[in-house]
């Protein structure tokens, strides 16, 4: 410390000048911190919609994998409920293999749909049962048909929906369970429904999930919140299928980096020990020898 203060550029300053500069610095730093805090705070008083609170998902933690039984149930919900209006055209049946279904099961799922293929040798298109490489079917041939069937609202493709909305799976869960009567004074147009989590509050999708609307093959009680939780987990997997691999690699990366850090720390101390302990002596030569 002593030698540092000897070289300081403020050595010649008077006491009052030092106090003045310190105050200035603290004020400038404080103002910067305040600006940053305001900028990144979640208070958005301009909007009226509710921001979904964070839920504790089974995959929330740094080392937590997806609950694959939940993905499987979520697929059931998607297939039996959501797929009536929504497409998920970036997901193939083969993606289910080793995640929520065995290969034989995924093949059976795929064979349930009919896919247009062709042309055959006569130049005609034909229908065939789905294969593992086929994508999930779309309920409407195009966006116009989808809008026409849904009062002008377009049910978005659900493949990447958790990546495309603030709040991700928290948002999907609350959207599906958040339907309620509009509060006094709020007018909702015919064909729209009140949902405080949706931007603007009036959504073109009717409430889709009710208790016992489907029966789970594994016997889990199909309450509304269970259905919403499972389909949200499934959609999270659709959007981030690499999620489990990513976290598994994180364990490996952190472990390896820790070992390397320790080794490098030792190497640095080892190499510097001789440099730091050396003394340089200078012996001026005099004219007489």
């Amino acid at each position: 410390m002593q030698s540092v203060s000897n070289y300081s550029t403020t050595r010649g300053w008077s006491k009052s000048k030092k106090a003045c500069m310190t105050t200035l610095g603290v004020l400038a730093g404080g103002a910067g911190a305040l600006l940053y805090a305001l900028e990144s705070s979640y208070v958005q008083a301009g909007d009226l919609e509710l921001h979904p609170p964070h839920l504790k998902w089974s995959h929330s933690g740094l080392l937590d994998s997806f609950d694959h039984a939940s993905i499987r149930r979520g697929y059931e919900v998607y297939k039996n409920v959501c797929a009536a209006c929504h497409s998920a055209r970036f997901i193939c049946y083969r993606n289910l293999v080793g995640v929520s279904h065995t290969e034989a099961e995924a093949k059976r799922e795929a064979e349930e749909i009919m896919v247009e293929d062709g042309p055959n040798e006569k130049g005609e298109m034909f229908k065939r049962p789905g294969k593992l490489s086929d994508t999930f079917p779309s309920p409407y041939p195009n966006e116009e048909a989808a809008r026409a069937a849904n009062n002008g609202a377009y049910p978005p493709d659900l493949s990447y929906i958790t990546m495309a909305r603030h709040g991700a799976e928290d948002y999907v869960f609350h959207l599906l369970t958040g339907y309620m009567d509009p509060p006094a004074g709020v007018q909702i147009r015919e064909g729209l429904y009140f949902n405080p989590y949706f931007l603007g509050g009036a959504i073109g999708m009717a409430q889709a999930l009710y208790n016992e609307i489907i029966e789970y093959e594994d016997g889990t009680p199909a309450t509304q919140s269970q259905l919403a939780k499972d389909v949200s987990t499934f959609l999270k997997w659709c959007g981030e299928p690499e999620h489990d691999t990513r976290k598994r690699m994180a364990i490996k990366a952190v472990g390896l980096m820790t070992i390397l850090t320790a080794a490098l720390f030792y190497l640095k101390r080892y190499k510097f020990s001789s440099l730091k302990t050396r003394k340089i002596s200078y012996k001026p030569s005099s004219k007489d020898n």
């Binding site: 089974s58 080392l63 937590d64 994998s65 997806f66 609950d67 694959h68 039984a69 499987r72 080793g98 995640v99 929520s100 279904h101 065995t102 099961e105 594994d218 489990d244 976290k247 598994r248 364990i251 490996k252 472990g255 390896l256």
Partner: protein
């Protein structure tokens, strides 16, 4: 330092055996490290992974 000397003479002294030690050591380390980290992952997430539930469907 007897052990250190033996290791040095046997493994590190000749460039050829040194390179072989590096290659074999890397392989052995990787196997062990992967086993360990996969064990951490699989025991931490026991019951949630596909490998834990797939027996029900096969």
């Amino acid at each position: 330092m007897a052990l250190g000397n033996t290791v040095y003479n046997l493994l590190f002294k000749k460039t050829s055996s040194f390179m072989l030690t590096v290659a074999v050591g890397a392989f052995a380390f990787e196997r062990g490290f992967d086993k360990l980290t996969d064990y951490v992952w699989e025991s931490h997430n026991k019951g949630k992974l596909w490998r834990d539930i797939k027996d029900k469907y096969e």
